[in-house]
Every structure is written in C-alpha cells, then in structure tokens.
C-alpha cells in the first residue's frame, strides 16, 4: 500500500545496456504488469525494485522513501517467483508464517496470520502439506500467501503463472487480481503474456529493449498504442504502409483509405495504418470495389467459437500486406477460403503511426 517510483534506472552488463534510464510511477494499490518479449529487461527491473540488483544509475522510492541502498530484507516487499520457491522442508503453514517468524512475532500470532492467508488463497485445508505434496498451482498460491504474510508495501511477481497449465493459469490470474483488490497492495507483475497483462492490470507497462514504450490502461494500450512496436506486440493488427493525406492514407498503388487519425500527421509523411480485426467489415465482391474499400481474397477462416477470424490477402497492394477480420460465426459461411471480398471500415477505426517511430523501435 505504497507508491513506487523508479527514476532514471539503468543497468548494463559487460557494456550491454539492459535497462536504459527508465522511469516508472505507480500509484497506491495499483496493479501494473510489465509486459514485453523475453530478454527485454522485465526481470531486471523487478529485481532492482526488490533490491536484488543494484542499478548503475537511478533511484527507487517506495511511499516517498528512498530504498535504493536498502538490502532486499529491509524493503518490505513480497516476492513471488516463477516456481520452486517454497521452502521444501516446511509445510504450507510454516512457509506462510516464515516472514512473521523471522520478524519475531509471537507464535500464536504467526499461526493466526498464516491461517488467515491460507484461507484467503483457498488452501485452508492444505496447511499441513509439504510443497512436494501440492500441485504447481497450489504451490504458487502458498507462495502468494507467504509473500503477503509480511504485509508488504509492494508485491512483486515474476511470471508467477508461466509454469502452470492453461486452465490453472487462467483461474489463478483471476484470483491474484481478486486478492490484490482485497489486500490493496501495490503490485508489479511481470509477464510476457499480453492476454494476462490486459486482463488483470490497472495499467500495462510495455517494455522492449530495456525501455518502457508505453504505460497506460489496457484499453488505451490496445486502442492507442504509442508506437509501432506496441501496436504490433499487443493484439492482432493488419498493417498497411502508406502516406498520410488529410484524413486518409494513400497506399503505394494510389488507393486512398479513410483514417481520421491520419490528420495528426503532416500530409506526405510515411505512415503505417493499423487495423484491428474487429474493425474490419467484409462484403462478398459484387463486381466493383467502392471508394474507401479494398479488394481482398479470403485465405483462411479460423473458427474461434462465437467469432470466426478471417485472414485476407490484399492482391492490389504490392507488398503482400495482410489484414484480419473478425465476424460472428453464423455469418462466416459466406467467407470461405478463395472467396473474393471487399474490406472496409469506419474512418475512426484505424490507428496511424509515423514510420520513423516504427523504425526506431
């Protein structure tokens, strides 16, 4: 239950920059996911906050207090690791009361606190089990309870779900969110799974190459990605390169496609237009392509339950640009592979990003 501020944090190993002067601000009781591809520096940042790594430059403040020079044991941070972090020689209950125990609390207090937390994570009846007697998901619940037992200012989780199978992962992430809301502990969760990040975060911090590219709510990250990397990394998008021209983008073959967002860019500027599958509408080709639409061939239709996702090829665009369109599955019969269609969208739907920004990342 504290704010966290990382200021100008950098770290390099053998001259290789892993974090480049990075700033992150977290509000009280906020849950932020650090999201990015493997090797982008997420764990390094988390461990700097935890105190296991000393940054080359920069500071970490928790609740306004500078903790940069404090060792991990003095930081009041709960940490949940990817796996195998429970003390194998202790029962679930003893694991959870470890923090209160080394803090010198009375034993009855320790046991009471540990019991409450095992209740909170739904493992009250497993308190006397050893780690090897529990499933991976149960072990991670115990690890979460153990981290919370010290009433941490900040809870840090490094890919806590990545070693679990899909169903347990889904359950446990909802539970982490519920428990985080109940305990109101400021939380940083590292993940490379965008769905996980979008579904449980207050804000998502997208990282790449040791930099924070965008820190925003899931819906802003999804709808208004700050740059081409974020747009490509989060969700699925058709990407159409062209040149800004008023409230439209001109393709290399001269086709003009509506995109209100293009007005933010100088006319003549090279841009990329991003189109989410849910914004693309399809019609069967009936001879002509109306202005503002694109001719396309259905390449593949994937049934996803209520939705069907159609992959399109755009033969009129020279660079084999691709596009996806989602539609209710009951309409999908019209769009079998090989079908010629026209694709169009509302002019407010596309997101437009200048190409220099795309190359920079």
């Amino acid at each position: 239950m504290a704010t966290v501020e990382a200021r100008g944090v950098s770290k390099s190993y053998q001259g290789r920059t892993v974090l480049a002067s990075l700033d992150l601000d977290m509000g009280e009781a906020e849950l932020i996911c650090l999201l990015g591809p493997s090797g982008c520096g997420k764990t390094t940042l988390l461990r700097i906050i935890a105190g296991f790594i000393t940054p080359d430059t920069g500071t970490v403040h928790v609740g306004g207090r500078d903790v940069t020079a404090l060792p991990p044991a003095a930081r009041k941070m709960g940490m949940v690791f990817q796996a195998y972090s429970l003390f194998p020689n202790m029962t679930a209950l003893d694991n959870v009361r470890f923090g209160p125990r080394v803090a010198g609390q009375a034993k009855t207090e320790q046991v009471k606190r540990a019991g409450e937390l095992l209740d909170l994570v739904g493992l009250a009846q497993h308190r006397d089990k050893y780690p090897h007697q529990m499933s991976g998901g149960q072990q991670q619940r115990v690890a979460l309870a153990r981290a919370l037992a010290v009433r941490p200012d900040v809870l840090l989780l490094d890919e806590p779900l990545s070693a679990l199978d899909a169903k347990v992962r889904l359950q446990l992430r909802e539970e982490i969110r519920r428990i985080q809301r109940e305990t109101k502990v400021t939380t940083v969760l590292v993940t490379h799974d965008q769905e996980e990040a979008l579904s449980i975060s207050d804000r998502v911090a997208v990282m790449n190459g040791g930099k924070l590219l965008q820190v925003a709510t899931p819906s802003v990250i999804y709808r208004q990605p700050a740059d081409a990397f974020v747009a490509r990394f989060i969700g699925l998008a058709g990407i159409l390169p062209g040149v800004a021209e008023g409230a439209a983008v001109r393709m290399s073959n001269g086709t003009i496609l509506p995109a209100d967002a293009a007005v933010a860019h100088q006319s003549g500027r090279s841009v990329e237009m991003f189109l989410r599958p849910e914004h693309v509408r399809l019609q069967r080709m009936n001879g002509h392509v109306p202005p503002g639409a694109l001719a396309a061939d259905v390449q593949e239709a994937t049934f996803l339950g209520s939705l069907t996702r159609v992959r399109l090829r755009l033969p009129e665009l020279p660079d084999h640009a691709g596009l996806w369109a989602d539609m209710p599955s009951e309409h999908a019969a019209d769009f079998a592979p090989g079908q010629r269609v026209t694709a169009h969208w509302h002019e407010t739907s596309p997101h437009v990003i200048a190409v220099e920004a795309a190359q920079a990342s």
Binding site: A50, A73, M79, L86, F87, P88, R146, L156
Partner: protein, 256 residues
C-alpha cells in the same frame, strides 16, 4: 511394466554371483577351524585381541572428525559457491576430483614431507583428518552437490531475504534442513572411506582399523576373514543408512 526377459535375468544373476561368491567364501573361510571343522573360533580370538577396540575407536573418531570437517567446512563453502561465485564451480570440481587422480601413495609421500609441526597436531591420529578430508572430498562433494541442485538454492535464498530473513537465518532454517539427506549421505560416505583407509594410516604409523585388518591378515588369515566380514557388515549398515535417508531425499526432491 515391461518384462525383464531372460537375458536381463541372466545378466543380473551373473552380476549377483560375482558379488556374492567372494563374500560367501570369505564368510565360510572365517568360520573354518582347520581339518573340516567350522565354528566361531576366529571371531572369538579376534575379539580377544587387546588392540581391536582401540583401533576401532581411533577409526570411528577419525570418521566422525572427517564428517565434522565435511559439514562445517565443505558444505558452507559449497553453499556460498553456489550462491555467490558460480564461476568457481570448475575449480571446486577439479579439487574434488584430485584424490582420484593423484595416487594415495603420492599424497602420503607429500604429506610426510610436511610431517612437521606442533605436537598437538602431528602427535595425535587426528592429524589424519586433514588427508582424510581430501580422500572423502570426491564422494562428499558429489553427494552435497546433488542435494544443492535438487533445491533451487538461489530462489530459496532470495525468497527468504524478501521475507526479511538474514542469510544466517536462511541457511539455518531453510538450506541446511533441506540439504539434510544430502549431508547425511555425504557423512556416511566419508565415514565409510575413513573406516577403510589403509595407506595413510600405515605409512604415518597410526594404528587404525584398516591397519589392524592388514596386520591380522599377515599372521591369522581366518581372523582376517572374520574381520573383513565384520567390517563388511558395518559398511553395509552404513549403506543401508544412506539408502533409507535417500528415500527421504526423494520426497524432498519431489518438490520440484
């Protein structure tokens, strides 16, 4: 379950014979009293030897001292190596393999050159703890190394630190208890090595159990066979201990 097959049983049977026949021969020879008589004479006269108990005690004391050195020196050194200096691992591996590479007789020659020093050190058999530590090192190192790899030492330590524990608390409350089976295994192995060591003790003129076996063998062959049988039983008991503890280890290892 796959069937074992005739070939499997044959190999197993031959291997079993290879181990059991010499053992049976030793036992039966230890019971031989000459002229087709069998009995426990050899055991009786063996137990009547005045130097049996003292040499056994010296060997046991040496075994315990070596175990203490393993737990108090080697184990902490390996824990710190794993945590803070993983790059030193090849050095550790090399040192741990040295006793296999250098023959015992070369070691003892080197040691006798250094066989000078204060009387409290070289005047007692405990001086042997130093070479015995190195003789036991390969076995003890392996046993502890397997134990440390079976737990995620770094993660456990970091988890402990984030919960506010000091390194001492973590080692005492988490690491050593988790390594208990490995430590006990390494101690039993070291103990067995010390019980059977002959070269050092003999050359440096200390009268240990193994030296006694050799001595007895020179003049009373059936007693030597009896002694071998006894020492086999002791070793076998120690191995059984390792196996029993190993089962506990498998349970802890199941935490992964």
């Amino acid at each position: 379950m796959r069937r074992f097959g005739l070939a499997g049983w044959t190999v197993l049977g031959l291997a079993g014979l290879y181990f059991i026949v010499p053992l049976l021969m030793t036992v039966s020879f230890s019971l031989w009293q000459g002229h087709g008589n069998y009995g426990f004479d050899a055991y009786r006269s063996l137990l009547a030897r005045p130097n049996l108990l003292p040499s056994l005690i010296v060997s046991i004391e040496l075994g315990l001292a070596t175990c203490a050195a393993i737990v108090l020196l080697l184990a902490p050194a390996m824990i710190f190596m794993h945590l803070y200096a993983p790059k030193l691992r090849p050095v550790f591996e090399f040192i741990a393999a040295l006793p296999f590479v250098v023959p015992a007789i070369a070691l003892v020659a080197g040691l006798s050159v250094l066989f000078t020093g204060p009387d409290w050190l070289i005047g007692t058999p405990f001086y042997l703890t130093i070479p015995y530590f190195f003789l036991a090192l390969p076995y003890a190192y392996r046993a502890i190394d397997v134990g440390i790899r079976a737990i995620d030492l770094t993660t456990l330590t970091e988890a402990g630190q984030s919960l506010g524990a000091s390194l001492g608390q973590i080692i005492r409350m988490v690491v050593l208890p988790s390594l208990r089976p490995a430590l006990i295994g390494s101690m039993l192995l070291s103990f067995a090595v010390v019980m059977g060591e002959f070269t050092f003790a003999n050359v440096l003129l200390f009268h240990t159990f193994a030296v006694l076996i050799n001595e007895v063998g020179q003049n009373a062959p059936t007693e030597a066979a009896a002694l071998s049988t006894l020492s086999f039983l002791i070793t076998w008991g120690a191995m059984l201990g390792v196996l029993m503890v190993g089962r506990g280890n498998a349970q802890l290892g199941g935490a992964r």
